[in-house]
């Protein structure tokens, strides 16, 4: 009955935040459903971190309103903090405390019942029980991330905000990380995660792309790609870089990227693009249409944002 249309975990509108004259987040709306893994992408400095901080009460929005876990983001920040786990972009646990001390501190601050048991269980799950006395500052980047994730899950939040949790983490560890995230989501945890990796974006249930503080696209991977209405060709043949130069200077072509021995060329107007190919490419070069991938779409969205908002 209710389950058909559950209450969204995040439901915000017009969220805006400026630093001085710079608008970091510009009228963003977002709705995230329970148990969803929601990817949040955008170029450096596009306002992802700022947006996450507003969701968990670390920053007050200049404008906009909405709810997080059904609580008002402006007036009930204190209550929201109790049920949100936030993993910051930069490691923000105490480097001069040991792994165990950090977890214990977090457990105390959240008033977790049966603290000792909870901390020990977290250490076990991390596989760090043997190294519990090691200072957090001495951990490698990947282990720090694992520790941070464990710490942000300690109080069993209903919503997990992860700010680039896998930056600088090796592929195997990243895969393990995502498996854990999917397992948690299956158990009902909602996850909002920022990333710069395309493979990670594709593992999200839904995603949003922002640039210059503005929301450029939103939906499932398929929806985002379809809505972009981007046309992409693969060009094979010799002298790729020279061809890429000439193609890029044509107005009908928004991007030309080298992939191994071929070029991926995108634009919006199929016939105009083919006209350019006939004009620019040599006889030994062939072109064939291929489906656009997420990266093509994001780059073209970023270009568009640059043209419109810069």
């Amino acid at each position: 009955m209710e389950a058909a249309d559950p209450k969204p975990i995040i439901d915000v509108r017009d969220v805006t935040k400026s630093f001085g004259s710079k608008i970091a987040v510009n009228r963003i709306a977002m709705r995230v459903q329970p148990g969803e893994i929601y990817g949040f992408l955008g170029p450096n400095g596009s306002g992802k971190t700022t947006f996450l901080r507003m969701l968990c009460g670390l920053l007050t929005p200049d404008e906009g309103e909405g709810t997080c876990l059904g609580l008002d983001i402006r007036r009930q920040a204190a209550e929201i903090k109790r049920h949100v786990g936030y993993m910051t972009q930069r490691f923000s646990y105490y480097e001069d405390l040991s792994i165990h001390e950090n977890l214990d501190f977090v457990a105390r601050v959240y008033g977790i019942p049966q603290r000792r048991r909870a901390v020990d269980a977290a250490l076990d799950r991390l596989g760090l029980s043997a190294r519990r006395k090691q200072l957090a500052g001495q951990l490698s980047g990947g282990w720090k991330q694992r520790l941070a994730l464990a710490a942000s899950l300690l109080h069993q939040p209903k919503l997990l905000l992860l700010d680039e949790p896998t930056a600088g983490v090796d592929p195997k560890a990243r895969r393990d990380f995502w498996e854990e995230i999917h397992r948690l989501a299956d158990e009902g945890l909602t996850v909002l995660i920022t990333t710069h990796y395309m493979d990670e974006a594709e593992r999200c249930h839904r995603l949003a792309y922002i640039a210059y503080g503005r929301l450029m696209a939103q939906g499932t991977v398929q929806e985002v790609v379809a809505n972009a209405a981007l046309v992409t060709y693969r060009i094979a043949g010799a002298r790729q870089s020279a061809a890429a130069e000439r193609l890029r200077s044509a107005p009908a072509i928004t991007q030309a990227v080298a992939f191994g021995r071929s070029l991926h060329v995108s634009g919006h107007d199929r016939s105009a693009m083919e006209a350019v190919f006939r004009d620019v490419l040599g006889p030994d070069q062939t072109w064939e249409p291929i489906p656009s991938d997420l990266e093509d779409v994001f780059i073209s969205l970023m270009r568009r944002a640059e043209d419109n908002f810069k």
């Binding site: 901080r53 670390l58 007050t60 903090k81 936030y86 910051t88 001390e101 105390r108």
Partner: protein
């Protein structure tokens, strides 16, 4: 639903703070190093006995006593006779220009009045800016005077000898009428060290959280500003007491400062002073963007404290505007309390007027600090 102050969260912060304090070698070194260094600098440096101090004489009574006394002074290591003066005006000039540290004036009729048993005065003008130099030299002079007179009062005048001081040495100390000396300085150091470390350590402890990014994490948890602030203050109150005890012990057992009043009373009153300084530290930390700025602000506060409180220079010798400024500073009042209790044996009634200005200062500053504490990262 409102969330009030939570003892659990507060205790978590206190425990964390203690662990970090133990691990942070620099802070730890500061906590013990600053008092020790200051004790050595101020306590022992001043302790060295200066010799050959430039001394001028103004002899208005040419008698055997005068000659004998001056001879004795020449023979001693402490005084170096530089000139013989002819007028009191000249004497004052010498002191003012720093050409002589002392001027001994033997007034007219000294010998006659001495022999009549009138206990005449010998006047010693002293430049007391360097109090340690002055005090030891004056002690020597008193001794010289007694021995000279004992030697010269012979035969029928022998009866004058036994009397306590046939002549009186009157000391007129300029520039430092309170004659701050080791007795004054070592107890005063307690206030100085507490000011320095309490302000700096708290300011650093909080800005460190913002600088290292841990504040972002802390603020995303349910902790409240008051819990963080108090949680950070409590460990440092303990540190303050350790420092104070260290200095108190040094004062008593190394520098032999007599302790006239009640040490427990001092320890109780000290809490007000410690809190006042911690409050400044916290307020600085809410303004500073990084640890360097916090450090600079700490020194910005420390300098007037040490200069205008009466620690370095005698309070009554300062210009009026500086005295007014000094009255605001907690250190000024604390110095009076420490010296009052330790040296003069003051009780609660005498020190009360010095306690409330510190309390007032603490409350005012703490209000600013709590108001400015950023609950968010804005």
């Amino acid at each position: 639903m409102r969330f009030g102050f939570s003892i659990t969260r507060f205790a978590a912060i206190v425990a964390k703070e203690f662990i970090q304090m133990r691990r942070d070698r620099l802070t730890f070194a500061m906590v013990l190093g600053i008092p020790l260094l200051q004790l050595v600098l101020f306590g022992f440096a001043i302790n060295s006995d200066p010799k050959h101090l430039p001394t001028a004489v103004l002899v208005q009574d040419h008698s055997v006593f005068s000659r004998s006394l001056i001879e004795a002074m020449k023979r001693s290591d402490y005084f170096q006779l530089t000139s013989v003066l002819t007028s009191e005006e000249e004497a004052r000039d010498r002191i003012r220009l720093g050409e002589a540290q002392f001027v001994l004036q033997i007034p007219v009729d000294f010998a006659r009045r001495l022999l009549r048993g009138e206990r005449p005065e010998l006047l010693m003008l002293a430049d007391a800016t360097d109090p340690a130099a002055t005090s030891s030299a004056l002690g020597i002079l008193n001794d010289l005077l007694r021995r000279t007179l004992d030697r010269e009062l012979r035969g029928p005048n022998e009866w004058l000898r036994s009397r306590v001081g046939a002549a009186r040495l009157i000391i007129h100390a300029s520039y430092n009428p309170e004659r701050i000396s080791q007795y004054n300085i070592v107890p005063g150091l307690m206030g100085v060290v507490l000011t320095m470390t309490m302000v700096l350590i708290t300011a650093l402890a909080i800005t460190r959280e913002s600088e290292r990014g841990t504040m972002e994490n802390l603020l995303s948890t349910p902790v409240r500003p008051l819990e963080v602030t108090l949680g950070k203050i409590i460990p440092y109150i303990l540190v303050g007491y350790i420092q104070a005890s260290l200095i108190l012990a040094a004062a008593r057992f190394i520098f032999q400062v007599p302790v006239a009043g009640s040490v427990p009373l001092l320890m109780v009153v000290m809490i007000v002073f410690i809190i006042a300084n911690l409050a400044i530290g916290i307020t600085f930390s809410t303004i500073a963007r990084n640890q360097l700025q916090a450090m600079q602000m700490g020194f910005f506060f420390f300098l007037p404290s040490i200069l205008l409180s009466g620690f370095m220079f005698p309070f009554r010798g300062m210009p009026v505007w500086a005295q007014h400024l000094g009255e605001i500073l907690p250190l000024t009042h604390f110095l009076r309390i420490v010296r009052g209790i330790l040296l003069k044996g003051n009780g609660p009634r005498e020190i009360a007027p010095e306690v409330w200005p510190i309390a007032l200062f603490a409350v005012g500053v703490l209000m600013v600090g709590l108001k400015r504490f950023r609950r968010t990262l804005d």
